[in-house]
């Protein structure tokens, strides 16, 4: 009884703090509590104290009442603490056992967990999300096999930015522990984008065990689910998938499913499957594309022979479409139809050339070379050129050069990539000719030279500075090593600094190459008048990689062309990383002078303040030894 009274009094005191002391002292509940507790005071001294305090409050007036109310609140806090009891469950009933779960530990340290959770939930400070997830998922100690992240996996599958990396790496790393929660969310009949990912994720973990679920998906699911299910079934068990894929590839009403079924036939060994793939190759663009990749991987013994046979004399001799004179509507329709058929044939031939090159047989490659040299249609010749470059077919790129300047951008990039891939050691000899003054003066000559510099710069970036989950620029590690060791590229970059049109590309190359011998050149660029802010920032970053007393003065010179918080921020990042205490007074002097000339806005001044705070910090606890 006393306990209930005290509980009520405790709540009343809180209420009175809001209502005011004058209301409290005359509240009937206060008097009621005193009457209830007073008789018990003799037995329990604590109750005696409460009763006394209530009386003091009742008898107090003016500000004294507020003081007594606060004293009562303090006393009640003590009483409340002394009588605190555990909460009761909101519902009554027996304790039910927890649903069974698979063993999975918590190997992530708090720091690692915070990073991974940030990546999965897109926390404001998270960076390189895909890369973080992939790194943890593929770590040797299976760091991502942590039960704390299980609740985050399904929501992450709905996040387009990371869903793919979650399906590919994280979900398989978590293994069967995550399957029940994925299955709870999966709705095969609904077929949302999330369901497709869930289905793929479950199939990746369970492998052959998922076959019944995949079959169910093919039977009951909407097109997206059917397509994903047949694709996964083809990956898990090509033989089991073949009969289903054969039917779906030709009979399913959804194009997406037909395409997926054609993909699923890649590993199918039967004659029937080869026939279906060849028929699909002659079909619509999407089907042909799927058939091309499946045929490229086909292990059927007669696959090469049948594919070469597709390059018929009629296709070899295919010429340009000749526009016919049409006056009536029927004639115009017929001409349009004929033109469309011709375009389809050209597209078919382009894909066929690609397929022949990918299969990589001598017979196929010779056909492609023949198409490059002799075919009447330019699109076919371009496709053949790209294909030859892609497979590194020797002797082809020399022939390509004359037409290179007018080629589409993609072809130019293919060409540069092809030359590097073909023989990285000779790439400089082969590409340096494009930097001769006469060649640069040609139409599009500057554009090609910029592309070469950018592509070469990529080789220096890839190893050091890849910053997302995707695998770099696709160059092999070997080619990267050869390019990085070839000092002539740095010399070429230095030489290109003299050309205004190439300067930014050259500075980018030199920045990433970080060669010590470029210091003098970077310093001399820093002394030039009229640098653009982009150029100044690149020189800034180049210099930041070296150590030299002249650099501090160069930093200050290079601050002049910069404008705005973003550019100042980039410059300050370099100076912060440079971390030279001698820079602090110089920078402060520059900043004061600048502020006198024109007051910087808060956003502009903030990076400098931050940088100066870092540079001017106490350095007593600097690193020891060495």
């Amino acid at each position: 009884m006393a306990k209930d009274t005290l509980k009520q009094l405790d709540r009343d005191v809180d209420r009175w703090l809001f209502a005011g002391a004058q209301i409290a002292r005359t509240d009937p509940n206060l008097a009621g509590a005193r009457d209830m507790l007073a008789p018990l005071a003799a037995r329990a001294p604590a109750l005696g104290k409460v009763t006394q305090q209530i009386e003091k409050l009742q008898n107090a007036t003016g500000k004294a009442a507020a003081s007594e109310l606060l004293a009562l609140a303090s006393l009640m806090a003590q009483v409340r603490g002394a009588q605190a009891t555990p909460a009761l469950p909101e519902a009554s009933g027996d304790m039910q056992p927890l649903p069974p779960a698979r063993k999975i530990g918590t190997p992530l340290t708090p720091t690692e967990l915070n990073t991974l959770v940030g990546a999965l939930t897109n926390a404001p400070d998270s960076r390189q999300r895909s890369r973080v997830i992939r790194d943890y998922a593929t770590s040797d100690r299976c760091a991502a096999r942590d039960l704390r992240i299980l609740p985050l996996v399904v929501p992450a599958l709905s996040d387009g930015a990371i869903a793919e990396v979650v399906v590919q790496y994280l979900v398989p790393a978590l293994g069967e522990a995550i399957v029940p929660s994925l299955q709870r969310q999966l709705d095969l009949e609904k077929g949302r984008a999330l369901d497709v990912r869930l289905l793929r994720a479950i199939a990746r973990i369970e492998g052959a065990k998922a076959t019944p679920m995949l079959r169910e998906g093919i039977e009951k699911g909407p097109p997206d689910i059917r397509a994903a299910a047949i694709a996964e079934l083809g990956r898990i068990d090509a033989l089991a998938a073949e009969p289903i894929a054969l039917v779906l590839a030709e009979k399913d009403r959804s194009k997406e499913v037909r395409v997926a079924a054609v993909h699923a036939l890649a590993g199918a060994p039967s004659d029937e499957a080869l026939e279906v793939l060849l028929r699909a190759f002659g079909g619509t663009a999407e089907l042909r594309s799927a058939a091309e990749s499946s045929l490229a991987a086909s292990k059927h013994p007669r696959a090469n022979e049948r594919i070469v046979a597709l390059f018929s004399p009629e296709l070899r001799d295919l010429g340009h479409y000749r526009i016919k004179k049409a006056t009536t509507k029927e004639e115009k329709d017929a001409a349009a139809k004929e033109q469309k058929a011709h375009t389809n044939q050209v597209e078919y031939l382009v894909d066929l050339v690609d397929l022949l090159a990918t299969r990589g047989t001598d017979e196929g490659a010779n056909l492609v070379l023949e198409a490059f040299r002799k075919h009447k249609v330019k699109d076919v010749r371009d496709a053949a050129a790209r294909a030859l470059l892609r497979i590194g077919y020797p002797g082809a790129w020399e022939e390509l050069m004359p037409s290179l300047y007018d080629a589409p951008d993609a072809t130019k990039d293919d060409f540069v990539g092809g030359v590097v891939a073909l023989d990285p050691a000779k790439a400089h000899e082969r590409l340096a000719r494009f930097f001769e003054p006469a060649v640069l003066a040609q139409k599009n000559g500057l554009d090609l030279a910029q592309r070469i510099l950018a592509r070469i710069a990529n080789h220096f970036v890839e190893l050091e500075e890849e910053d997302d989950g995707t695998p770099g620029n696709g160059e092999s590690a070997e080619a990267t090593q050869v390019i990085r060791k070839d000092e002539r590229w740095v010399d070429l970059g230095v030489a290109a600094l003299g050309n205004k049109g190439l300067r930014i590309s050259a500075l980018t190359l030199l920045l990433h190459a970080g060669s010590p011998k470029t210091l003098g050149d970077a310093l001399s660029v820093s002394r030039e008048e009229g640098l653009s802010s982009e150029e100044a920032l690149l020189v800034f970053e180049c210099l930041g990689k070296h150590r030299d007393p002249r650099i501090l003065h160069a930093f200050l010179r290079l601050l002049e062309p910069l404008r705005g918080g973003y550019e100042y921020g980039r410059a300050c990042n370099v100076m912060t990383a440079y971390d030279d205490p001698a820079l602090a007074p110089m920078l402060r002097g520059w900043l004061d002078a600048k502020q006198k000339r024109k007051r910087l806005s808060r956003a502009e001044a903030a990076p400098f303040e931050e940088c100066l705070r870092f540079l001017e910090r106490a350095r007593a606890a600097a690193s020891e030894d060495d």
């Binding site: 509980k7 809180d14 703090l17 809001f18 005011g20 004058q22 009442a65 507020a66 003081s67 109310l69 606060l70 004293a71 609140a73 303090s74 806090a77 409340r80 002394a82 605190a84 009891t85 555990p86 909460a87 469950p89 519902a91 009554s92 009933g93 304790m95 039910q96 927890l98 069974p100 779960a101 530990g105 918590t106 708090p110 720091t111 690692e112 967990l113 915070n114 990073t115 959770v117 960076r127 890369r131 973080v132 790194d135 760091a143 039960l147 704390r148 992240i149 299980l150 609740p151 190893l463 050091e464 990433h512 190459a513 970080g514 060669s515 010590p516 990383a577 870092f614 910090r617 030894d625």
Partner: protein, 500 residues
């Protein structure tokens, strides 16, 4: 003794996340070349491709006598260790056993010798001279604090006299002014409580934003919720208690009313802003020797109101079973340059440490990291886990200890304990712990974090079974009852950390 290199340890040594990611990238791409180690495996060295024209020479020395390896690299990075050094550490952790044994480079051996020589020559720091007490300054400070407490009392009385229901934008300004006044009198803890009170009143605590119409002027949140009201009332009670006890402390009257010396000393710190130095704590007897600690849980919290980040490690003393806490607190603006204390993955062997005073369950423990030999972290052993289970208690004594703490309004409303759980189950959707005596505790998270630890416990308990639970018991001001917030579950030699 050589340092043990594990991937977790490397993650803690990394200066920042990017360096670790870059190191992993270097490792994946095979940038490390010609890796080798010396005959006893305490030196590893090699080359790492980088942006320089020649590969960087990178090495690590595990026999440094410290708890971290010495990593050296010829790259110009100012990060320590750099990404190349971290890549070498990762390679060593993963495949160190496969490194070929080679004669280490001469310069490396010389550097090692030089370092050992330096360590041997290092003279012990002279004993700190006793601080001279400036009695006049002390008296002046006591006067200022007494005045500040008087002002605070008047302020609180004025607030309550009219009732908190009549709070306005001006009241918030007045609270903030009062907070400044307390900070000026070196009573920062009280200033913090006042700042928190102003945040509760303005609703900033709940993420309420100012009205666009009146930028810069804060107003009282519209319609205070039950939780907000309870917090405000409790904060006011705390402030009033602070005034009463602060005055007594200034008058030296603690002894008269039966307060323990430990609690009186704690209140000197919490109310009057006394900053304990390690020698002071040693002199006052708040000093323990030869303790073994194992971290139960590690938490980081960011307080947007005070702009401080805090890392707390809850450690169990494997000998006496008490749960203490290791606290690091840093203002936000220093975080780019310094790191909060990382999680402790091994067992700590502490030669001597200060155990802060106070009649609370989780007292603060602190030792001087810079003194050689004071702290050693070794891999955990089966006996450590046995000790953890041995110290798991039933709910009844644990609840009694919490009640004793709650009796003082100045004490925190929560404390971390080790509870021996007989089973976990579900009652109407709520997770419940039951001990050997059949006593039950409802488990509920104190806040809506990104990862509810109750979800993690459901999975862990279902998969591993019951065990010893590290749990934060917290008194909820709204429901006026105690709940458990699970932190970690120990089952056999498994330590399942449940919190993010």
């Amino acid at each position: 003794m050589a340092v043990v290199v594990t991937e977790q340890a490397i993650a803690e040594w990394a200066p920042n996340e990017k360096a670790l990611l870059d190191a992993k990238s270097l490792l994946r791409k095979g940038a490390l070349k010609r890796l080798a180690k010396n005959d006893d495996g305490t030196l590893a060295f090699g080359h790492c491709d980088g942006s320089g024209s020649t590969p960087y020479a990178v090495s690590m020395d595990l026999a440094t006598g410290a708890d971290k390896p010495t990593v050296r690299c010829t790259c110009p990075s100012r990060l320590f260790p750099c990404k190349h050094g971290l890549a070498l550490l990762l390679a060593y952790a993963q495949k160190g056993a496969l490194f070929p044994v080679e004669e280490p480079p001469k310069d490396l051996v010389q550097k090692r010798e030089k370092q050992a020589q330096k360590a041997a020559e290092k003279k012990p720091a002279p004993a700190a001279a006793p601080l001279r007490v400036n009695k006049t300054a002390l008296a002046k400070k006591a006067k200022e604090q007494s005045d500040a407490l008087d002002t605070l009392e008047t302020f609180l009385v004025d607030l309550v006299s009219g009732g908190l229901g009549g709070l306005s934008g001006k009241s918030i300004e007045a609270i903030e002014h009062q907070a400044k006044r307390m900070a000026d009198a070196d009573m920062k803890r009280t200033a913090g409580v006042l700042t928190r009170l102003s945040a509760y009143v303005s609703g900033e605590w709940l993420g309420d934003e100012d009205d666009d119409e009146s930028p810069g002027v804060r107003d009282v949140a519209r319609g205070l919720g039950e939780a907000q009201e309870a917090r405000i009332a409790f904060t006011l009670t705390q402030l009033y208690t602070t005034v009463r006890r602060g005055k007594k402390a200034l008058e030296g009257k603690f002894a008269e009313e039966g307060t323990t010396q430990s609690e009186a000393d704690a209140e000197l710190e919490s109310i009057l802003g006394k900053a304990w130095r390690l020698p002071d704590l040693r002199e006052a007897g708040y000093w323990v020797k030869n303790r073994r600690f194992l971290e139960l849980a590690h938490e980081r919290s960011d307080d947007e109101i005070t702009q401080f980040a805090t890392a707390i490690g809850f450690l169990i003393d494997l000998d006496d079973g008490s749960v203490v806490c290791e606290v690091t607190s840093l203002p936000f603006h220093t975080l780019p340059f310094t790191k909060l204390r990382a999680s402790r993955l091994g067992t700590l062997e502490i030669a001597e440490a200060a155990l802060y005073p106070g009649d609370i369950v989780n007292r603060r423990v602190r030792w001087d990291e810079k003194v050689e030999g004071v702290c050693r972290e070794r891999p955990r052993e089966a006996a450590d886990y046995e000790a953890v289970h041995r110290h798991g208690k039933p709910l009844d004594p644990v609840l009694r200890a919490l009640r004793a703490q709650l009796k003082n309004p100045l004490h925190p409303l929560d404390a971390v304990f080790l509870v021996a759980a007989k089973k976990f189950g579900d009652v109407g959707g709520e997770l419940v712990l039951e001990d050997e005596a059949g006593m039950r505790l409802v488990l509920r998270n104190t806040n809506d974090g990104r990862l509810p630890s109750t979800d993690a416990l459901r999975h862990a308990a279902a998969a591993f079974g019951p065990g010893t639970l590290a749990v934060r018991l917290h008194y909820d001001l709204v429901t006026r009852a105690i709940y458990g917030d699970p932190l970690a579950l120990f089952v056999g030699d498994e330590h399942l950390r449940l919190r993010a």
